[in-house]
Symmetry: D2
Subunit: 343 residues, 4 copies
């Protein structure tokens, strides 16, 4: 087949790059099956008319005006590999025309869930401070070092949000025989039950759990919804693990709850990233910090390439994409998670 | 029933205490069903003849001479709640008479497995040093902080030893879809296969795993069996997690392998405990330290009381004990794990 | 709230009835939350203009003309409770307007999977003929009656089609430690792998399985795709279990393969239903028959009501339906499964 | 090694044969590692003195007198491959000398559990009578044929006895999300809980289950313990599946309960085997019959050879047997299950 006969893909994946999200063999496969036109996000609007007219796929989340979209007669799917949906394209028109908009954020679920579980176990066993004490010759041996130690096995666990990440976390917990309650107002209870967890109110999740994992996206409705009252309602000594976005939490209230000794906490996300060098969370005992490292593993990025290739293959065969997650008409405009400007 | 009609229990559980291993309700139950004679380990030999003659159970691991044993006509079971068998009683005679000797070490399996998993995830994600850097304002954000980060999900895992602890660890791994190889020369391969793991040689476990967990007891045959060659055969960057006894490892060789950067490691056990304040492992980068804290949780000790009560109840009804682990004629004399002198 | 302020639902669920798919408490809940206009499928077109204009939901699969649809300005979702999509409404327009078309066939997955597993075990152990022999005093005792008996545990299993039913079947198999291969050209391989099964070609599924389950829907592309060659490629003595639609199979070829003794088979579906009284499959040894009874359990129908209520609740709150299965633009026109005319 | 230097095995496995329980490669392996002296059960006592003196293992359950045992100085293990322990050897002396007596009945657990599950599904869906009706042209289509149909998924299940067979059954049920209660007075509750089932009284198991599986061995205490009162306490329409031994049931009372329509039942075992040709159970509607075929699969017998070889290997290396099940001093004399006189 002459190269010109190959389906055309516009590539503008920033801040990702094709090399980040495809292994070399995958990239070779991509190039063998498609004609790739690489540009910047802002460059898409200025692509030649024939490129726009022929493009079957976009890899990236470039701004697209209604006029530009109108020219893209062959467009079938936008692969948003940054994964946070922003309001820079006419989603309604895309949906009306049956053009899929998909995100590849599923790849982060497993790495984030692993870090979240690790954080929970660290808080339960105080691993960081115990190692520091050991370095300094002040370690406590045996039971003397375990006065606040707890088990995750058999514990009451609460999960706030049950998308890909909540499910990945629940899967990792499968060997721990926890009693797990989930609050997710966007899901019907029966789906939670089918996943082996108990649907619960936010209050119940907060007040009856030993470990609370927050994995909910920020939406127009839930910014800062976890504040001082929420933390006060938690069990004394319980652990709060924040994995999704700092925006869902009143961060000063969280720090205050930890400082008071009522709860312990861990977070991968912060109100500003990077964080001011004198931010008080840096010195807060009972708080475990991670600098937005939970998902950004090379192995995760490379799985994006798999997903994109698998879904392009389905769409090429006249089938709907199944591997990536589709943006939904109803919820696309409610999303408020800030896109990453780094990988 | 008059108190004297109750079956008699000799209690000499040091270094445990009845209050450590029984909750208050359990202890009340014990006292309501049995007549308890409390003494020290060394005091057992000097108990009155009628106490020795009537004792149905011993809780503890006191030295017992053949003569003393000969007086204990009603003895049915010795509950070793320290859990490391030492050679201070005539085991052959006990077995010949059908007196059970059982240990309650199962209670430690779950807490130790949780710490082991936590250590593996810590090594994979470098959680301790990342938190330290964050405290000091030198944290690396996002992917920049993940250059050596790895996933446990889908990894090759090796487990050396597949007793209660190996099985508990394997259960915790059930949500991680690992490919798990096990070396345990005391078990037939089919039992490993039934547990969903792959029987393997020691060489295969060491050389083809991303994470190696050592959970084997020390025996007369395996002291120091993991040395420089073993560590050299491991994959570059693999993680070695030592959870059972330092005696199975050539500790200086382990430190050298970590120092060279070939592997990373974590350990809950050390050649001497407590450890000299200037021991070089205290300052070794790439090594995560825990001061024999893995199992010694209050919740674990309290489960011992459950086990003892459940097995006493079975034996009282003419049935064999099933909850505690029976010492075996064939292996009792091979055990070399040093008993704990603290809880 | 005055009844007229309630959202309006058009109910035309034939061949179902509201009493079939809702329990009494569910039906009361439906009526308390919505204004229900009950009609026949053919009656929808003739409903008063204000009813059409206000209808938020349709329960059923009535014929809808473009003109009628044009009047239905408030329509948000069509709940197809018959569950086989037929080409009697302008799907493209529905999709373009963002109106969901959903089916509730998931409720049948579990009952059908249970019957399918039962059929497989029946074929493996020859339960029907053994019971008949026992009734007649000709039973064979012990191993004498087990000459062709096989285990499902540890067997090679093949599944053709991996929609809701294939997944339900796979879940039921989870205790059997089977090696399971799946052929489903509409799914990317990674989704199969995530479900713990091995993606495979049709040939591989047929030729290397001890039990082959057919749970694929009939589409415009796969009618009669399992014919004499397919059966000849199966292992001698293997079991073929047909659960979805007779249309995917060359039925005379299947009967011939069973008659020859090459395979055994079971089917819940037949080329005509009801079947001619002299159809040769009625007398075919090695063939287990069920008269399209696999899914039609009252408990399954009642779960439809749950699904409808849960998804209406989500849509009422501005969220997409998640419990029912959405028709897809790409595949809706390929479906060829004949609707049921009975329950 | 000269053949005479090989450890000696006395083989008297009747009613089994070496060819039944070993595959050809296993048998070759047995013969290459051991010197086999084949005899009948009754022939053991008459073996030459040097054979008795050198025998390390016995495969079979021959009668052994105290005198004969006294000559067997090297005996380490008796492998009872019939699997029902009878009182024909001095067990106390065997135990006192540390000679293991093991049974290989575990091999039957999986086949019996599969038939038990199949029976439950057959009763739930009335598969036998539906196929018979289909053969005769009187089948009922769709829901018309499902008036009494039930699901096992999500049902209340009761298991009486939780040895190897109960556990195998519980494993097969793992995909069915049942609520499973177990009655087993020989096990501590915590072991049941660890297996994910709920310890319960016999009354609770009987009166709150939709499916009751009886997998308890006959002992001196439980003969006929399931009688008219037990069946009357069951839920209307519940299914009773008898898999272990007819001796635990009052069989006429079971038939009466089925005949009355109160319950349905299935059984693999009968008061006499073979059964009189005019026994009324042969014609009892609502009763599914199997002629003691549940366990006697060739694949099961062949697994015995694996077990024997694995445990001989362990014992040869000075370790205790782990694969076979050890007879226990406390319970060996209580067993009353009649040995099989056929395979």
């Amino acid at each position: 087949m002459s190269d010109n006969a190959l389906p055309l893909v516009i590539s503008a994946p920033e801040p990702r790059t094709l090399d980040l999200i495809f292994t070399q063999p995958q990239l070779a496969r991509l190039r063998s099956k498609y004609r790739i036109v690489e540009t910047t996000a802002d460059g898409v609007a200025n692509l030649p008319a024939d490129v726009l007219a022929q493009a079957r796929y976009i890899v990236g989340q470039p701004p697209i005006s209604p006029d530009t979209l109108d020219q893209m007669k062959a467009l079938r799917c936008v692969f948003n590999v940054e994964t946070n949906l922003i309001n820079n394209m006419p989603y309604e028109t895309l949906f009306a025309r049956g053009i899929h908009v998909v995100t590849t954020g599923l790849v982060f679920a497993e790495p984030v869930a692993e870090l979240g579980l690790a954080m929970a176990l660290n808080l339960a066993r105080n691993i960081v401070d115990a190692d520091l004490a050991f370095r300094q010759g002040r370690e406590l041996w045996g039971g003397d070092g375990n006065l606040t130690a707890r088990l995750l096995s058999g514990a009451d666990v609460g999960i706030i949000g049950f998308g890909d990440l909540g499910r990945a976390l629940n899967r990792l917990l499968s060997g721990f025989r926890t009693r797990t309650k989930v609050f997710d107002p966007w899901l019907p209870p029966s789906i939670l039950i089918d996943n082996g967890v108990e649907p619960a109110s936010l209050d119940a999740v907060l007040s009856t759990s030993d470990f609370v994992f927050v994995v909910a996206s920020v939406t127009s409705e839930n910014q800062g919804f976890l504040g001082a009252d929420a933390f006060a309602s938690m069990r004394k000594g319980a652990a709060f693990i924040l994995l999704s976005r700092a925006g869902v939490v009143d961060f000063p209230a969280l720090m205050a709850a930890v400082k008071s000794g009522h709860i312990v906490a861990a977070s991968d996300v912060f109100p500003e990233e990077p964080l001011a060098s004198d931010h008080p969370v840096r010195a807060l005992p009972g708080f475990l910090r991670s600098a937005h490292r939970a998902g950004a593993l090379d192995i995760a990025f490379k799985r994006m390439g798999d997903m994109v290739l698998e879904d392009m293959d389905l769409i090429d065969r006249g089938l709907p994409p199944l591997r990536s997650k589709r943006a939904e008409r109803e919820t696309v405009s409610r999303m408020r998670s800030k896109p990453a400007d780094r990988n």
